[in-house]
């Protein structure tokens, strides 16, 4: 039962974070929120028992891809136009 509550919490947070990362104008903020999204996915994988996938999500999704995204944002215009 408590697992289902946790799952529901993570899944609803995922939707909020996904919408938020598209909503914000500042691309650096967007990249950081995207890292939060990856971290929530990592929690979800770990909770479902797919620890290998969770590990990859934590290192690649929340770690490396955020750094690469931010490194890219610094070389382009930082604010989205629309």
């Amino acid at each position: 039962m408590s697992l289902e509550i946790l799952n529901t919490l993570i899944l609803s947070l995922l939707v909020v974070v996904a919408v938020l990362s598209l909503w914000v104008r500042d691309l650096v903020v967007s990249a950081v929120i995207f890292a939060v999204y990856s971290f929530l996915m990592c929690l979800l994988w770990a909770e479902m028992g797919a620890v290998d996938v969770a590990f990859t999500e934590a290192t690649v999704g929340a770690g490396a891809s955020t750094v690469v995204l931010i490194a890219t944002v610094f070389n382009i215009k930082r604010k989205a136009k629309d």
Partner: protein
């Protein structure tokens, strides 16, 4: 236009949510993924065939070794592609940045990084070496190792990190990783088996066929780790400096 896109997205979302009802329940033994003959073979025989406790690694590095090898090649090609596309850009910065980062390395940041980088690297090696016993493996360990170099580049500057791991060496190490992986494959071929059929390595290693597969898996994971480490850092170096390999962020 924007409203139309929103309606489309919502419609597709509803469609996906509706389709998700057909999914089997979580952990259902009768779900197609668990009940197919291939997965039941893996579940029943991994321990007997390879003596590897972590079934995921056994499937990844042994049963589906081709897939993982070419995945590593894809990572390598992606790194080369980013590097060569950005390399042809303008030699000087064409416009001012909107966001300027302080020039001097910060004392607190650099000292924290000094403390934390060895821990990250040892953890990465642990993840790599224990990939077939516990969760982890070449990809995760490689990314953690590459991240430690990125951390150096973030705390000081790109030049400092490139002094330790230059871009030429990056691609050499990345290629070496693939050579290790394919080399183990070819070695098992020359010893009478098929490509990536590690059991035949038992003729040169003083162990049983099962343990030969166990150790060969560690070998290919090391290869994957080499490639991923180098490419993650090369990606960062290319993207953060716009391909110029100077100043960085």
């Amino acid at each position: 236009m924007k409203r139309l896109a929103l309606i489309l997205v919502l419609l597709i979302g509803l469609l996906l949510a509706w389709a998700a009802q057909d999914f089997p329940r979580w952990g259902d033994p009768k779900s197609p993924a668990s009940s197919s003959s291939v997965s039941s073979h893996f579940i029943a025989n991994t321990g007997v065939d390879t003596e590897v406790p972590n079934m995921v690694t056994a499937v990844l590095a042994d049963y589906r070794g081709f897939d993982t090898m070419l995945e590593t090649v894809v990572v390598f090609i992606a790194g080369i592609a980013v590097f060569s596309i950005l390399k042809g850009g303008p030699k000087q910065r064409t416009r001012d940045r909107e966001f300027v980062v302080g020039f001097e390395p910060d004392l607190i940041v650099t000292n924290t990084v000094r403390l934390i980088v060895p821990v990250i690297q040892i953890f990465a090696l642990y993840v790599l070496a224990h990939g077939h016993v516990s969760p982890g493996g070449g990809f995760q360990g490689g990314v953690a190792m590459g991240a430690s170099f990125i951390l150096v580049a973030l705390a000081w500057d790109l030049k400092t990190a490139l002094l330790r791991f230059s871009i030429d060496r990056c691609f050499m190490v990345a290629a070496l990783g693939i050579v290790i992986y394919a080399g183990i494959g070819f070695l098992s071929m020359f010893l009478g088996g098929e490509f990536l059929d590690y059991a035949h390595l038992a003729t040169v290693l003083p162990v049983s066929q099962e343990m030969a597969r166990y150790h060969a898996m560690l070998g290919v994971e090391v290869g994957v780790g080499f490639t991923v480490t180098a490419i993650i850092f090369a990606l960062y170096a290319s993207l953060s400096s716009d391909g110029r390999m100077r100043d960085g962020l």
